[in-house]
Amino acid sequence: MIPIALYLAVSAIIFSIGLYGLMTQRSGIRILMCVELMLNAANLNLVAFSSYHHDLTGQVFALFSIALAACEAAIGFAILMALYRLKDTISLDHINILRW
């Protein structure tokens, strides 16, 4: 069977992709997607470990976090919608009245 290290490696890679996107992307939507990536990388970890430990907790946890991720996405989109209504853009470069 596949050694645990590979799972970790994969999830680490996915997580890093998400991070990179989060730091570089301008569009709100893409940033949301990056966040999803990262969360799912973590979930991958959980599942991998759970099978590694032969213990279901990890998978249950993963399910929970997927649910949460959904809620998060919902709220995120809601906020972005509102922003779009107000400013006709969701490019985060133009949203920085609050600073210093």
Binding site: F64, L68, I79, L80, A82
Partner: protein
């Protein structure tokens, strides 16, 4: 198991749902009643918690625990959300979706309360997220206000980033120990010490909680959000959800990961110093009072974090006690700004930044009660004697010296000296700078909330013995649980 042990939480849930449902059928102008309802619910919950003080129990096969620590923080959260609810009555006046405001607030409170009593990382994470999600929405409550939305957006993005980090951290902990139950992790956390995953997990979790506690460099969202979102919400964020981060950190680090003490003590030491210094120094130059308070609460977080470095019962007790006092001071201060903001907006609808410090000119004349309360809060934050702030600093700093971290104490004390610079500035504006505008009536709910907070601050300062004692008990839970 006895479900009544969860009575406070249930009370809040019920109130939350009730508010949500009743709100649907009420006309906008009569939605005031929701505020009273919510306040009542929180009051009931508070009463229930107080009545059940001293009970020790674990529920839901050991995922929820009720002990001195959880009780203490529950009360902190309930007090804050009580202030939030009362102040909200005025704030939401004439808002079409008052019910959402209260429902979200109450759900956030539940999240916090469950974090306080969580005994399992899974529950902790879920509750944590619950609180976060609710507050994301609250931060963006003013849908027509660009600032509010921007605040929400930033809060949301950094929040979900840190959630991801936290989850990753938890996954590593789980991977190493094979369990998510906090005591069990504590039991066999030896594995983490040996494996490199240890440090990574610690840092990731630190980032996760650091985001809520607003420790530099995970704080970046905080100033913007506190400034941008409605003051009442800022109060909830600064006074409530910040404490949630603290209690979570206490549970996870001091109890679960005590074996990795060496690692995270260093981390906390570094963060504490950076955070308090950065917060105080930057606050000096702020012109928006809310932003200034945001930075000040950074600094306060820095002080509290010292407890993790010192890690003696007294220091932890001090930190916990500090959390309580800070709850009162910060909530009060933000509500005061809310009152001022209300005053400004009621004078001219579209004023650019109602929280600019110029609006505080001559407040002593225009809103005497608000000004007086604000002075109390500000002095308390600065650590002037006979206020909660002084008492908590006294315990915390002195315990720091006691256990030999003199350098840390010195830095902290120098910091609180610097902080006087901007606190005094607020007082100066309120009392010494002339104003041409006349006295205005102060909205009752705000005043009530502020007075409650002020009384709390003074009581904690004068008659602190029982509270300190209690905080010590809470701390002892951690120590016995951990060591």
């Amino acid at each position: 198991m006895d479900i009544m042990l969860l009575a406070p939480e249930l009370a809040i849930v019920v109130t939350g749902l009730a508010v949500l449902l009743i709100g649907l059928f009420l006309p906008t102008d009569s939605k005031k009643v929701l505020g009273y309802l919510a306040s009542l619910g929180v009051l009931v919950a508070l009463a229930l918690t107080v009545s059940s003080l001293g009970t020790e129990a674990t529920l839901f096969n050991n995922t929820v625990t009720i002990d001195a620590l959880s009780q203490f923080f529950k009360i902190v959260f309930l007090v804050v959300s009580l202030l939030f609810a009362i102040a909200g009555i005025k704030y939401t006046e004439g808002h079409s979706n008052t019910e959402e405001f209260y429902a979200l607030g109450l759900f956030a409170t539940i999240g916090m309360m469950f974090v306080a009593s969580a005994n399992d990382l899974m529950l902790l994470f879920v509750a944590f997220e619950l609180a976060s999600l609710a507050t994301y929405a609250l931060a963006g409550f003013e849908k027509k206000n660009a600032k509010s939305l921007e605040a929400a957006m930033k809060y949301f993005i950094i929040g979900s980033l840190s959630a991801a980090l936290m989850l990753l951290g938890i996954s590593y902990v789980y991977g190493a120990t094979g369990t998510t139950s906090i005591p069990d992790i504590a039991a066999n956390s030896g594995v983490l010490v040996s494996s490199p995953m240890g440090i990574v997990a610690v840092v990731l979790l630190l980032a996760g909680f650091g985001f809520k506690i607003a420790l530099v460099p995970f704080h970046m969202w905080a100033p913007d959000t506190y400034q941008g979102s409605p003051s009442v919400v800022s109060a909830l964020l600064a006074a409530g959800s910040k404490k949630m981060g603290i209690v979570a950190a206490l549970k996870v680090f001091v109890v679960a990961l005590i074996a990795l003490k060496a690692d995270w003590q260093i981390a906390f030491a570094i963060l504490a110093v950076i955070t308090m210094t950065y917060g105080n120094v930057v606050a000096l130059k702020q012109t928006s009072v809310k932003r200034m308070l945001a930075y000040s609460s950074l600094a306060q977080a820095g002080y509290i974090t010292m407890a993790f470095v010192v890690l003696t019962p007294m220091a932890l007790g001090g930190g916990i006690f500090y959390a309580l006092s800070h709850g009162f001071m910060k909530a009060g201060a933000f509500i005061a700004t809310a009152a001022v903001g209300y005053m400004v907006l009621s004078e001219n609808k579209d004023s650019a930044d109602p929280d600019h410090i110029d609006n505080f000119r001559g407040l002593g004349k225009r809103m005497p009660i608000t000004a007086l309360c604000m002075t109390i809060f500000v002095f308390a934050l600065a650590g002037i004697p006979l206020t909660a702030g002084y008492m908590s600093k006294f315990v915390l700093f002195s315990s720091t010296i006691q256990s030999g971290f003199v350098w840390l104490a010195v830095i902290a004390i120098l910091n609180s000296a610097i902080s006087l610079g901007y606190y005094a500035k607020i007082v100066k504006y309120m009392y010494f700078l002339p104003t041409d505008s006349e006295k205005v009536s102060e909205p009752f709910p705000y005043t009530l909330a502020m007075i409650i907070a002020a009384v709390g601050v003074l009581v904690l300062g004068f008659w602190s013995e029982p509270f300190i004692h209690w905080a010590m008990e809470a701390a002892s839970v951690l120590i016995t649980g951990g060591m």
